[in-house]
Structure formats: structure tokens, C-alpha cells
Subunit: 418 residues, 2 copies
């Protein structure tokens, strides 16, 4: 049920090549600092933030596959295209600066320039990110003032200021940090993310920022990010809506002092395993904090013909409005699960499918199983539930994460702008 | 903005080749009768129904594209395969007889046989349809009793008994009837449908039944059904979930006495136009009665490169949870509309798009437009709203229909089985 590559990861897990840093953040890797301030785009919460690296860092990025990339994404891509390195990321919340035409692009350039001036660095070392309402112009007077007030520090408190500054309808901050020893040197990977609605990433997520002091070339970093994005950020969904502003940025400043990482490095898989853990934790935190959500839903699909099909089926199940409402109602209505499998485009045969809620078998041998509705309902009341589906037609596996669909999702989104 | 074919339909509309029969139904075409009874699958409402034709009728059918077609669909396909004709359709609600393995298939065959015996007709002249909960076995004792009680009549009251028997979470009955004069003979087309949740048809819809006394060969009828299904049933969505039981069946018994219809008949487009009206009205009625819905949303896309792309974009917009909740909240959050255009796979250029709410322009010339939020909000409070998007890159047009996403959708689906 596991491929060779996955076994390798499981084995490295077994030998715990990486360690979770419970109170770690984006400033835990050496040479990174951050800050966030209240500029007045939101009523009282922070709304402008920055991540800063003491030296230009190698970088990697993935962006939304929407046809309508927001202005900040265009500016960020232009920055990275120049030299492949970044030293600062300037972010605002409350306004996505998307579908804002020429004015929007001008504003994103101004954010980049003002941030570059603040740190006296080249413009193309600055990335720009925005999140919030689509189609309104930025209040640049407030943004300017906010940027000028930023004073990045390497403290936990400063990281929290940043984490707060990137939230919109999010209820909780999303952060994760892991460390892995490479060439005898401690390499740390920290991440921060936001995302609660309009979450159905395609090749990227809402905003995700990962810092690491690893010494790694940009090409290898991009390759690892792409591979990991497909297994993590791209496997979450809240409402099936792909944003115009999705972006994950990774900065690697090399301060850890390990030998340069690439595919041929003997510990390449160790680095990737830790990087994947940070990404998976951020992705799950976004799914769990989905708008109106009361719980995280994890769907694991095994026995698929290909990994891609396993991922597709898992995401179809976790994205089904009917599955999401059934989980909210603690109703083990597995017919909706098999229905979602049925309309996915994967190779499936109804008579070979098994469906489990944790250890409880709901469907096997092409027949509904007698199970305790009470036990199933009790299980579904937990704040984290797992649905397992074995397709029985192959060896490949995949996972996806989402959340339940609740009254509060409707409430939040029926009045988002008011 | 309209293709040649659409212009032809518009022209026939202008000369009103067809007439709406306000109180018409599936028994208005000559030679059809129907009935519905309460067999005990639901608490008090009708749950077993039948449509009967005095003579074997030519037929056409489209089915769900789910990998998991329910047992009744398999039996119906087997019936039609034998001779291409049907004389009766036996239907039950409350239970979909889907994912029920060998027992389910046996039960569907028994329904077919019992119905054939009731009318003393060949088994393969009977189609079987079921709708309701997935994964539970039919209570066959009740079904048997229900079938035996059926006494089809050609009265309006009998048609209503049938229309009620096919509903599940539907709040209203769906029916439509048009008449068109072909070769000097009055040809009538009547339809009944059900559908409220798990509505995102792919090649078919939830249950739809169309009767006509037209004289038409099965091949031409199938070709017209396929073409019309793509523009009507396949363009509605309630929750993005495609059912295991979707099916539209059309019976044409030839009693009108027109010369046999086919593509070469000079009035082929007249017949298709009337047939399309019946199908579009049924589709819109299903969308408007979507689970928890308070209003019908129509999305019209013009200026697309191809009709298929116009349809895809229209369906993406009307299917977006964020658009649906915004409409429920009477919030003209057009950013969510353009976002849905952006993640569709159609050829689009942001700077060429216009977005309108009825006559109110929200976005054009690549810029948000100043508009009266009050006027927009008032408009969105109507029980039928229209969103128009001109992509500005071609001549093709398409429409889709859906409904708003409300607290009641969550309420209904968090407790469907209880």
C-alpha cells in the first residue's frame, strides 16, 4: 500500500531524522526576523507584516493557477525572475489587491519599493503578498505608514505580530517548525500561513511563508517545494474556490552551515521529510480553521492505481458539501462518501471498495455493513475525524484534508464585506 | 453574441412555434396516464409512482456518469437495450437502491417484473427508477404492496399523485408542458422531475421524465435529448455532488399522428425548441428548489471562445459556494464572481471582462465600477437573480442555473437520515 518513496519517508520518520520545535516559528531559523503592525486596514488587528533575512536568501515559490493572478503575485514573480533571491517579504491583509488593474499593479510596486527603502536593499530582493477582499484598491496612505513602522526582530513575540498581520477570517494563527541535522549542522525550517475561506489551492495555497537556514540551491528548493505542495497545500479544500492570491514562498539563507543540499546529498530525503512536515502541519491548520469549521476531516485513500488518483479521490471526498454537512451533523452517511468516489474520475470498481471511519467498517464486499450508529456518531463528534477508503485496485495512497460545512460558514460568507 | 443555431431557436421563439400549456403535465400528451401511492417508505407522502403509455413508446435516456450507477439504472438500461421501447416507468422515492450489491439488483428486477405483471406487458417494456438514501436495502414488502395499488389515469390529479411520489427533500413539484404543431398535428411534450440535493448532473440529472405523443424514431429522440441535456439539466448545480441515480427518460408514443420526426423533417427545430423549453423549465425548477435555497440564480456568459467554455464558466460561477453565500446575503461581492471565472479552465483575459447584475455594471475596462450597493442589494433580495458575464474574447454564449447556499442547506444535510 506504500510506494518505495513513501516507505523511505516512513523509515526516516521511524529513525526520527527530524524534531518538532514546539515553540518555533519563522524566526527560529538563523538569520531571520519579522514584525507586524496595525496600519488601519482592519479595525484593530495587525494588517501589515514583514519577514526579513539578514542576507539575500535563495528562494522558491508556487502561485495560484487562477487565470487572474493578483498584482502582488506579478510583482513577486518579477522580483524572483531577476536574481532568484529574496531578502524580505512585505504582506498586507484585509485587501487582496486583485482585479484592480493598472492602479493595483502600481500600488504593489510601491509596496515593494517602500519595503526595499526601509531595509536599504535592492527592490528585486522584496516579495509582495496581499490577502483579503478582491476588487478594491489598497488604502496606500495607511499601507505606507504601516511599512514605515516595521521593526523586524528575531523574537517569538515579533513572529506572532507577523502571524497576526496576515490573517483575514482566520480564527487562529498557523505556524510550524521542525529541525533536522544535516552534515552535523542543525538546520531549522519554520513556517507561517493564513487561509480560511476561498481555499481550494491549485499548485499553491493561500499565503504560506517558510523560512529555513538550510544551505540549498534555489533549483533544488523549488523542486522540493513543488513535490511537497502537491501532497500538502494542494490536498486541502475548504469551499472549492481557488483564490487569485494563493502563494507559498520559501526563503533559504544558508546560515546553518551545512554542505549545499540537492538531490544527490545523502540527507536530501531527511531535509525533504522535515520540510514536508512543516508544510503538512500548516496545510492541516488551514483546513481545520476553515471558515465556520468545527473540525478537521482527514481522508486517506489507499489501494488506488496511481498516487494521483488516490489524491483526486481523497480531495473529492473531503470537498463534498454532502460529506461535510454529514460530518457536521455527526451522521455516518457513508453513501455520500461512496457517491463522491463514484463521480471522481479515478479508476474504481464499486465491489472492491472498503470504507472505514477510524476502525469502524461501514462498507465492504459490495455491501453496507451493520455498524453501531451511536459509536459512529460519537466518533464524528470529535474535533478531528478520519475517513479511510481502500479502493482495492492498486498500491497507491494519498491524503486530503478539509473541514465540516456549518451554519457559520454561511453566516461568515453571507456578510463578508459588511 | 449568438451562434447560428441559437439564432434559429430565437427565431422560432419569435414566431412562437410552441405554446406553453399552463396546467399541462406528463399525462397531457395523448395516450399517457400516471399514478402515485403511499406505500410506507416515507411517513405520509406518496413514495411509489408509475407512468404508463397505452402503447409501447420509442424512448431515449441519459444516465449519471458516476462510476457507481444504482441498480435501477442497470435494469432500465437492460430493458431499453432489448427493443428500444418502453411502456411503463416504475419509480420509488425515499431509497435510491444504490450501492446495495446483488440484493439491490435483485430488488430492482423484482420491481420491474411486478410492474410488468400489473399491466400484463413484457418486462423489457418497463424502466425502473429510485431516489433517496444511498446504501440501504429497499423495503420490498412495502414496494410490492405499493405497486399493486397503482391505477394509472390520464387526469391532472393522477399526474399530481405521480409528481408527489418522486420527491425527496424537494419542497415543490417540478412539471412543465409545451405543445407544438407538426404537420398540422398537435404534438404535446410533458415533463416531471425531482431533485433538490446531490444535484450537479453530468450527462443527466436527478430523475426527469418526459412524455410526448410525437411520432419520432428513438435515434432522433436520443440525439435531441443528448443535445438538450447538455444545455439544460447538465447546466444546473445545487451542491456540486453528482448522484448515483441521475436519469432522464423520454417516452414518445406517436399518438399525435405527425409524420415521423428526424433531423431532415422541416419542423425538426420546432420540436427541439419545445422539447428544450420543457427541459429548461424542469432544470430551473430543480435549481430553484435546491436544498435550503431561497432563490434561483441564473448566470449568462457571453463573449466566450466556444459554447463549451461559456457553459463551463457559467457553471463554475453558479457553483461557487462563495458566490452562493454572497447572493444569499444580498451582497454584490463581484470579486467572487471574477474569481470563479479565473479558476475555470476557459480562455479568459481579465482586462476584457464585464460583469453585470441585471443592468448594473460591476466591473468593466479591467476596473471595479462605482455602483450603488443599496440598489445591488435590493436586486439580490429578489427570488430570481441574474448574473451576466461577457468574457469579450469570442461569440459563444451559455447559461447555468443554481441557487443560494443557506443555513437551511446545512440544517437539511446535517440531519438527512435522522
Amino acid at each position: 500500500m506504500t510506494t518505495g518513496e513513501e516507505k523511505a519517508v516512513l523509515q526516516t520518520k521511524a529513525t526520527t531524522c527530524y524534531t518538532k520545535i514546539e515553540d518555533g516559528s519563522i524566526v527560529t531559523p538563523k538569520g531571520f526576523s519579522a514584525d507586524g503592525v496595525h496600519a488601519g486596514l482592519r479595525y484593530s488587528k495587525n494588517d501589515v507584516g514583514v519577514i526579513y533575512s539578514d542576507v539575500p536568501a535563495n528562494c522558491a515559490a508556487v502561485y495560484t493557477q487562477s487565470h487572474f493572478q493578483a498584482a502582488p503575485l506579478k510583482v513577486t514573480q518579477e522580483s524572483i525572475a531577476k536574481e532568484g533571491r529574496l531578502q524580505a517579504i512585505i504582506v498586507n491583509s484585509a485587501n487582496a489587491n486583485a482585479c484592480t488593474g493598472e492602479q493595483g499593479l502600481k500600488d504593489a510596486y510601491e509596496m515593494r519599493e517602500r519595503c526595499a527603502n526601509l531595509f536599504n536593499i535592492e527592490k528585486h530582493f522584496v516579495a509582495v503578498a496581499s490577502t483579503g477582499v478582491i476588487g478594491e484598491f489598497l488604502k496606500m496612505d495607511k499601507i505606507r505608514q504601516g511599512i514605515d513602522e516595521l521593526k523586524p526582530q528575531a523574537s517569538k513575540e515579533a513572529a506572532v505580530e507577523f502571524q497576526q498581520a496576515i490573517l483575514t477570517t482566520d480564527l487562529v494563527m498557523k505556524t510550524s517548525c521542525y529541525e533536522v541535522v544535516i552534515d552535523g549542522e542543525k538546520v531549522t525550517i519554520g513556517g507561517a500561513a493564513k487561509g480560511s475561506g476561498m481555499i481550494h489551492p491549485n499548485m499553491a495555497t493561500m499565503l504560506g511563508f517558510v523560512t529555513t537556514d538550510a544551505n540549498i540551491d534555489s533549483e533544488s528548493l523549488q523542486s522540493a517545494l513543488k513535490e511537497i505542495t502537491d501532497k500538502t497545500y494542494n490536498q486541502i479544500t475548504v469551499d472549492g474556490d481557488t483564490s487569485t492570491n494563493d502563494m507559498v514562498l520559501v526563503l533559504a539563507n544558508g546560515q546553518a552551515g551545512n554542505k549545499q543540499l540537492n538531490e544527490k546529498h545523502p540527507q536530501w530525503n531527511d531535509f525533504k521529510a522535515a520540510f514536508q512536515m512543516v508544510s503538512e502541519e500548516l496545510a492541516k491548520q488551514i483546513a481545520k480553521d476553515g471558515e465556520g469549521a468545527t473540525k478537521l476531516i482527514e481522508v486517506e485513500v489507499t489501494g488506488a492505481k496511481t498516487k494521483q488518483e488516490a489524491n483526486v479521490v481523497a480531495k473529492k471526498i473531503v470537498g463534498s458539501s454532502l460529506v461535510k454537512t454529514a460530518v457536521y451533523g455527526a451522521d455516518a452517511n457513508w453513501g455520500r462518501i461512496i457517491c463522491a468516489v463514484g463521480y471522481s474520475e479515478a479508476s474504481v470498481e464499486p465491489e472492491k471498495i472498503d470504507i472505514y471511519l477510524e476502525d469502524l467498517c461501514l462498507f465492504t464486499d459490495n455491501s453496507p455493513q451493520a455498524f453501531s450508529e451511536e459509536a459512529a456518531s460519537e466518533y464524528l463528534k470529535k474535533d478531528q475525524v478520519k475517513i479511510s477508503v481502500n479502493l482495492g485496485v492498486g498500491d497507491a495512497a494519498g491524503k486530503a484534508w478539509g473541514c465540516d460545512l456549518t451554519y457559520d460558514y454561511v453566516k461568515i460568507n453571507a456578510s463578508y464585506r459588511t
